[in-house]
């Protein structure tokens, strides 16, 4: 299973990390990098990754997306959805040409975001994107595989009818080789603690795999480990929280509201959790061999930097540490699905025991504790039962 860097702000961290052997490629984010700058990047960096075209909100000129030739506002200043009736072919050409010029590994068909889930949504996506993209790709591209971007809303997972509808739609396109799957995350907690959501996400991935589709899951947080049980082709690692959880706010032009800076966190593969750095000091005082709960890496601030290391969510080390550790964790997963399942169950049990030890003296909050793990465990058992 591959690990892609979901890039965004500070793509340099991902590039550095990738150049140091972490991850299998990068997923590029047009709102964060100028089209020309991306064109100028080393081909070696691009031939292993792909573009997230980010037409989610069509004509919202967030960040540098307007520098892209296929940005709808460059075709017509007040471009709106109905304009896709006439401009869909043109847009498909510009988008594919740009992707081919970069020589990415895959060609990606964009998608449009809808806050609601209108009945004609999938028909529109077919007409506006899938058909013109596949037709033009057939003309100009002979060997690159085609991925279809799909935003999966919570309701599409938990409602049987809607789940079947999206599955039928994804698997119904002859020229599409795989899917760039994005689970919309509207949860308030940092970890997803919803059984139905996670269990049905696994079912969805499995069905897509059963249909011989490549499945690349974007915007993953640590639940990528859980998704791995359905044997997708890739998951992602990302730095900031908005790269590990898909929310449309990131793509809204008007989203200039001051954001409260989150506290820096340190990922632990032993705890399967990101721990708020504020708990590191109490752990140091109260938990024997506290540093053993965290992984060794060239970037771990606990072992590589001065004790007065300035923990900040904008600093690179905790993220590079995560890239390093999580990539290693994913790469160590068994190729065999049943072993993978059993191993993750064992890891979860171990993590819960470690949390018990920590919480015998340190009271962790809901975003640093192991409360997501019982949900993971239940999801795994249900999934295991279903596939046995």
């Amino acid at each position: 299973m591959k690990v892609f860097h979901q890039t965004g702000h500070n793509i340099k961290w991902n590039i550095d990390s990738f150049n140091e052997g972490v991850g299998d490629g990068l997923i590029y984010s047009p709102i964060n990098i100028d089209a020309d700058k991306l064109l100028g990047l080393d081909l070696k960096l691009k031939s292993t990754g792909f573009l997230d075209p980010q037409l989610y909100l069509l004509n919202q000129a967030k960040g540098s997306i307007e520098t892209y030739p296929y940005f709808p506002g460059n075709l017509k200043s007040d471009f709106a959805t109905p304009d896709l009736d006439n401009d869909n072919i043109n847009l498909a050409k510009l988008c594919i040409d740009y992707q081919l010029k970069n020589d990415f590994k895959y060609l990606v068909i964009p998608t449009k975001y809808n806050a609601e889930n209108p009945t004609n949504y999938l028909i529109q996506c077919t007409d506006y994107f899938v058909i013109p993209f596949c037709e033009y790709a057939k003309e100009v591209n002979k060997d690159k595989k085609i991925l279809l971007s799909v935003i999966v809303k919570g309701i599409m997972l938990t409602d049987d009818e809607k789940r079947n509808e999206i599955l039928n739609w994804i698997t119904g396109h002859q020229n599409v080789d795989g899917v760039y799957l994005i689970f919309e995350n509207n949860f308030a907690s940092k970890q997803i603690k919803d059984f139905d959501f996670l269990f049905n996400a696994l079912r969805l991935i499995k069905i897509l795999k059963d249909n011989q589709m490549e499945v690349h899951i974007g915007y993953c947080n640590t639940e990528a480990l859980l998704y791995s049980l359905a044997m997708p082709d890739s998951v992602t690692i990302g730095s900031y929280e908005n790269l590990r959880s898909f929310g449309i706010r990131r793509f809204q032009e008007t989203d200039n509201s001051p954001m409260r800076s989150p506290n820096a966190r340190l990922y632990s593969s032993k705890l399967l959790q990101w721990v708020d750095y504020g708990y590191i000091q109490p752990m140091k005082t109260l938990v024997e061999n506290y540093a053993d709960y965290f992984d060794e890496s060239p970037y771990n601030p606990l072992t590589n930097f001065k004790p007065d290391y300035n923990w900040q969510f904008k600093k690179t080390e905790p993220y590079k540490h995560y890239f390093y550790v999580f990539n290693k964790q994913i790469k160590s997963l068994s190729e065999d699905q049943f072993d993978r399942i059993e191993n993750l169950k064992i890891n979860i049990k171990t993590s819960r025991n470690l949390f018990n030890k920590i919480e015998s003296s340190v009271l962790l909050d809901d975003d640093s504790d192991g409360s997501h793990l019982q949900h993971w465990f239940n999801v795994i058992n249900a999934f295991q039962k279903e596939i046995s």
Partner: protein, 150 residues
């Protein structure tokens, strides 16, 4: 009884001022969590810090917040509305385990300590220093602060 935490906070501030002096900060930011009140007492070169988390209910959430304040405080308290203190009292061993103070407060300014924690060295020297720097060279005198420390 209090309808909102703001109402509770206003009365608690009056209570603090009247009984313990003006040596406190309200909703101090930039630490680990945002305590409703940080009360301080200077003695010679030492500064004792007592943090308070006020809640109408949900003692566990309050305790988790109060635990964070021990990173920069010697003592941290959960102060619950008198009306909703029963569930917390039933779990007093939880407060003992984590050495977090528990008190109840009512709208007659009736304040009662239900568990008095031991004073500890704050877990984070950096955060404690940062807070002491914020307090600065304030000459205000605290009174009766021993009441909060076990």
């Amino acid at each position: 009884m209090f309808d909102t935490e703001i109402e509770m906070s206003i009365l608690f501030e009056k209570f603090l001022k009247a009984n313990f002096g003006n040596t406190y900060l309200k909703e101090c930011q930039g630490l680990f969590g945002i305590p409703d009140f940080v009360f301080y007492a200077k003695q010679n070169d030492e500064v004792s810090i007592i943090s308070f988390e006020l809640k109408l209910k949900d003692w566990k959430r309050a305790a988790k917040q109060a635990f964070r304040y021990k990173s920069f405080s010697n003592v941290a308290y959960v102060v619950l509305s008198s009306r909703n203190v029963k569930a917390a009292l039933n779990n007093i061993d939880f407060f003992e385990k984590y050495n977090i103070g528990l008190a109840k407060f009512g709208n007659d300014c009736d304040f009662e300590i239900l568990f008095k924690p031991e004073s500890i060295k704050p877990y984070s020297e950096n955060l404690n220093s940062k807070l002491i720097e914020t307090i600065g060279i304030n000459r205000k005198k605290a009174k009766n602060f021993e009441l909060f420390i076990g």
